[in-house]
Symmetry: none
Subunit: 210 residues, 4 copies
DNA sequence: GATGAATGAGGCTTCATTCAT
DNA sequence: AATGAATGAAGCCTCATTCAT
């Protein structure tokens, strides 16, 4: 087992196998994916997989870890590059939707099989992923708005993350009934709802918050 | 599991087995769950499972179907009973969070293993579930607001559904770092963000960067 | 278990089941035939089969026993009714071929699955059947020819029984390449070969027997 | 089992398994033989059997195919090496009886479980086997006798094949009541009956054929 | 007596893992 | 290091048998 914990320190061959694992997982899911499928997809022998990973569980956990890191990095960078809260959120929303288009297998593993349990470790990785993302979003909110933000940044971050995941999932599920537009349109309209909210009920005053 | 009513003509014994399947799936996930586990949980023999279901895949697909219907009904009823849009959304948000508390296994199967691929049929069921929920929420928006609603109801419905799922998932994942409050507090605060939105940047016309 | 050893003393319902068993065995063979198939074919419940037979092995052994007895009786009567050796042999040959036409399932079980081992008892029944038939044919030879018969009657009986079984099997296998004629033609021509033999080699004297 | 030559490109390991399968089938029959029995007999792991054969049905069908080919080749060579019709038939008869002694398991599978239905393919193989043998015998008759042969060669071939199979079966069933002599005696006496036939009835003229 | 729902032992088959090459 | 043939534990599923109705 040469594979270190650091993604960046993963040997090229191990990375080839991990990428193959992600692609196969995206198509067949955790339950149906066999080590041999991954080996074939990676163009190596079955035994070679075991040179780089301890077990099926290890391989799949690291594959999810890889997918998680790729996705998390993209979102984090988008959030950090924003010139305003709205800009940051729009960038990350757009980045996620584009990621679903360009790296569909990776996105599919993350959104489609969230805690599909190829062993408990996968669950832990995804809990960490959520926590990290919520933290990053809340930090972005505080950075741009600070005390001016009227709501609990954590709650707001969760609302945004939910909307982002849901929009991405809709894209992945490729449902032709919904979201027929471009990713840019989808990001813009979704963001508009998030920024403005649903608004107070115009007829009666009952939609006022207390 | 409160639900014991006839579901689409499923026999009582079959329902017992399905409920057991949901409970076991919630704990062990699709991959690790064995037919024998389900049989033991249901208090029947292994062979009996095969009297009512064609295969492991059939059983698990129907278990997800059952969980989906239970959850969808609860959300639909909450949306329909609302006296205003805010009330409807708050009711459904609260209902979902409470459902996660009282029927944690069912919720876990739905949120934790979304499209975990116990066969392709599970994926279809969950796509249907999303579409149905988005439709119900959009209908609720149109019913209470009609033309007054400034945004695309479908987009807004997706934002809300994402926030609802994410809040429920956070609850399920039982992450002690986030959301420490009661379900009522969580529902109220989450709803406040959704209704008001993040708001415009207070200082200048747009958000200021740091 | 009401079923006595004597076929003639078998209760009507047991006989119905046995006949059904023979029909199903003929189609699916020993390995693939399930008790439920037999019950359905007999038009009774699965449990009823166990009212009349101890086990699957018991049922199948008795079914083969029934088939054997039906076939053996027909051959024995044909042999006994012959007015000469040739007549007796022709009658039995014809009877066997006709039996294959009219009672194909029974013949199929006997010829197609001879010692197919639905338990060791089936093997014993078929050994007994062969012994009985060889004995009956040898007795017929002695009765009509006595000391005039130049060969060992047992050997001759075996040759005849082999030819008879082979002709019947060819009929059962329904091979369109061979034996295209009627059963009467087949019986007549087969018998002619048996009575006359292949004859001495005309060229040299080497086909003379010593 | 003497035969170890390549059969249709079967790998040596596959042949080892096939030979083991034949031996186990001979003892336990189709119904009672388990894959694990074959694996143990072959000295390999259970999984190894599945490296070389698709299923139990595939394995058993090929085992019967192997047995059929071994037996058919022996008979065909005996027929071809004969210097006269009588010699050819005697050689094949003797070869068959000796085969039953030296390769009892193979013979047992062929004679004892003829069309025992380990799947429909077995039936096809045995139909082919019979057709091939009848053809070879008929060809031998024509070769040595040509137009001098008074009877239909196909019919005669069937009579001979039946006698040969029956004699071999008697040997296999190991019935101590019959055929106590050596295989040479049995072959000689059986052949004498076949060559000379039963003869005309001496007393009256009724045994004359029309 | 007749039934068929329920059962679980046991078989076929898969596939993660090993290891000799 | 790389391989893939070999393995056997483990799981899905079948079906002979039972037994309450």
């Amino acid at each position: 087992m040469k594979c270190s914990m650091e993604i960046d320190g993963v040997s090229p061959k191990a990375l080839t196998i991990l990428e193959a694992a992600v692609r196969v997982l995206a198509v067949h899911g955790f339950e149906a994916t066999k080590i041999e499928d991954v080996a074939r997809e990676a163009g190596v022998g079955k035994g070679t997989v075991y040179e780089y990973f301890d077990s099926k569980e290890d391989l799949f956990a690291r594959a999810v870890q890889l997918a998680t890191r790729m996705y998390a990095r993209i979102l984090r960078e988008a959030l950090e590059n924003g010139t305003s809260l709205r800009d940051a959120l729009e960038r990350s929303l757009l980045a996620s939707l584009q990621f679903c288009e360009t790296s569909r297998p990776v996105a599919q593993v993350l959104l489609d099989n969230p805690v599909g349990r190829a062993g408990a470790s996968v669950r832990e990785w995804l809990i960490d992923f959520r926590r990290e993302m919520v933290g990053a979003i809340a930090r972005t909110i505080r950075h741009h708005r600070g005390a001016d933000f009227a709501r609990d940044p954590e709650i707001a971050a969760n609302v945004f993350l939910g909307a982002l995941n849901n929009a991405s999932l809709a894209r992945i599920l490729d449902d032709p009934e919904e979201y027929k537009g471009t990713v840019e349109e989808m990001a813009r309209e979704t963001l508009a709802v998030i920024m403005d909210g649903f608004g107070p009920d115009p007829a009666r005053g009952e939609d006022r918050r207390g």
